[in-house]
């Protein structure tokens, strides 16, 4: 259900929205996520996934996170299997079309240990947009008549008072926290996003706090030289964490493409015995490394260079 407007205003009002430095470590940033929070995740499928932050939350053994994301890839498997979440709201959930249906998602949802709450892609976007706009719902014209709508209990229909047309109303989604990975931002949280934006901007403006991870922190001066390139303003942001390759093994537009062989390996590992495979994966890549650099070392320098080579080539022609 949509949050009451007075509660939303009070929560926003209570935040220190001034121009102040917010740089912290990824471990410190995990303290901004409380057990039980609703957490929106930026990017889409294998693109600009805030993987470093998800990695840190899994290591910090958070619990009962209610996740939302436009389209969910491997990070969904890992959140189910690590136990930090048993409820993911998304429109599509599997590693990616080429890898087929996620065996881990199937294992957890078919045994009812976790829930994949399915909404249409646009309805999720409009729920964030309503949240960003400070209204309790958004009218739309899809989903009606389908079982996607039929199995949801927080939709309303109305007849438009202007045209008489039947409209579907979806409730605003104002997540407690949004995790967003960007190419660059300043120490105050003014973020620039190159290329595909997905639902990140609406999500950031809807959320009650935003944790930004960034490939690179730039000066506020640099931001102010092209203010029309700022996509998320500092007033929405609570934490800025610099994490190179913060989306690995997924891609970050213009910088690196997905680490395809790593993703192939994950798919193989979870194919026959999904639960054992994902547990092994978590042990090796999540609980094992002492820090993010060690995690990247495990992914391997060769893969990093290859992903970077492919990632930069988008701008070659």
């Amino acid at each position: 259900m949509a949050q009451s407007y007075l509660d939303l205003r009070a929560a926003t009002s209570a935040r220190d929205r001034s121009l102040r430095e917010k740089v912290m470590s990824i471990e410190e940033a995990t303290s901004l996520v409380n057990n039980g929070d609703s957490v929106a995740i930026g990017g889409c499928t294998a693109s600009r996934t805030p993987f470093a932050m998800i990695w840190a939350l899994i290591r910090a053994a958070k619990s009962d996170l209610k996740i939302s994301r436009s389209i969910t890839s491997t990070e969904g498997d890992l959140m189910f299997a690590s136990g930090i979440s048993n409820h993911i709201l998304t429109s599509w959930f599997s590693q990616g079309i080429v890898w087929g249906i996620s065996k881990v998602m199937r294992a957890y949802t078919e045994s009812n240990r976790a829930r994949f709450e399915e909404w249409s892609h646009m309805s999720i976007g409009l729920r964030y947009r309503a949240g960003a706009m400070g209204v309790p719902f958004m009218p739309m014209r899809s989903m009606m008549g389908s079982d996607v709508a039929g199995q949801l209990d927080n939709l309303k229909e109305m007849d438009c008072p202007f045209t008489g047309e039947k409209m579907l109303l979806v409730p605003a989604l104002n997540p407690d926290v949004a995790l967003i990975h960007v190419q660059r931002c300043d120490a105050y949280g003014n973020a620039q996003i190159d290329g595909l934006q997905f639902m990140d901007i609406d999500m950031a403006m809807a959320a009650n706090r935003v944790i930004l991870t960034t490939e690179r922190i730039v000066s506020n001066d640099q931001i102010r030289r092209s203010p029309d390139q700022t996509r998320i303003p500092f007033i929405a942001v609570e934490a800025v964490v610099e994490v190179p390759f913060g989306s690995a093994p997924h891609e970050c537009y213009g910088m690196y493409e997905p680490f395809f062989s790593h993703m192939d390996d994950y798919a193989s590992l979870t194919k026959t015995n999904p639960e054992q495979g994902v547990a092994e994966y978590l042990e090796k890549y999540y609980y094992g490394p002492k820090d993010w650099t060690e995690y990247l070392e495990l992914l391997g320098l060769g893969e990093m260079l290859d992903a970077t080579y492919r990632g930069r080539s988008i701008q070659n022609d």
């Binding site: 998304t90 892609h121 899809s142 008549g145 595909l196 639902m199």
Partner: protein, 256 residues
């Protein structure tokens, strides 16, 4: 002229799908065969076709041999005319800028409803599928072309779960539900081209591919499908079509 041994059934699917698109149209395309088919017709007969991806891309240039694996990655944006937010690209459908939604299907029923969510009892799923993605929005808001393999288990009387609405229960039920535009336009399989009866909205065969019999279609369809007596037969893929197709997908990722 080619004959059946000259192409794979996936190649046939791609070519037949490509021919359904008309120059000047704006097409919301999924990855795989739909994208391949849209690119094929763009190179051959419809240079003015505009492709949209649900990741937020308008009018990209698909590089041969670098077909994007999802519609949400940077490969999709290569030499695009515009990149926009996901919600905004989907809203182009709602605003009416899009002529055709073009995607693959896993399970379809008599009225063109597609299921990509749940096999078995929705309350207690036998198999949890990946879900709708943009499929529900696309099929709610525009004319649809669906391309899929023609198998009995995929062409069912009634899908377990309507992920992407076709004509729902047929007749006027789609309009009555609030979906006043769009609907299933064509289903393209490796056997035939299907349309929908104007009144009942029930699926019917419009043309058979070369060498395919009406009986074959019936045998591979899980419901009683209407087949006219005076059926058209499609023209087999031309050498040119196959050449371009193989140029676009040299590793046969989607056409093996």
């Amino acid at each position: 002229m080619t004959n059946q041994s000259d192409y794979t059934s996936a190649e046939l699917l791609a070519v037949m799908s490509a021919r359904q698109l008309v120059d000047g149209q704006t097409v919301f395309a999924g990855v795989g065969i739909p994208l391949l088919a849209a690119t094929l017709t763009q190179r051959l007969q419809s240079p003015g076709l505009t492709i949209l991806f649900e990741g937020g891309v308008l009018g990209p240039f698909v590089v041969p041999g670098e077909l994007p694996p999802t519609t949400n990655e940077q490969r999709c944006t290569r030499r695009a005319n515009m990149i926009l937010a996901i919600t905004d690209v989907l809203l182009l459908l709602q605003r009416g800028y899009v002529d055709i939604g073009f995607m693959g299907g896993a399970e379809i029923d008599r009225y063109g409803n597609l299921n990509s969510s749940i096999l078995g009892d929705p309350e207690n799923p036998k198999i949890r599928l990946p879900g709708t993605g943009g499929g529900n929005d696309i099929s709610s808001l525009t004319q649809m072309i669906v391309t899929m393999k023609h198998e009995k288990r995929r062409f069912v009387e009634k899908v377990d779960f309507i992920t992407s609405p076709g004509f729902l229960d047929g007749g006027s039920s789609r309009k009555d539900s609030g979906l006043v535009t769009g609907g299933m336009h064509r289903v393209i399989t490796d056997l035939a081209i299907m349309g929908f009866d104007e009144k009942t909205k029930s699926m019917k065969v419009e043309a058979l591919h070369p060498g395919v019999t009406a009986e074959q279609v019936r045998d591979n369809t899980g419901f009683d499908i209407h087949i006219d007596d005076d059926l058209m037969v499609t023209e087999s893929p031309t050498i040119k079509e196959l050449e371009v197709l193989r140029h676009l997908d040299p590793e046969q990722l989607y056409t093996a």
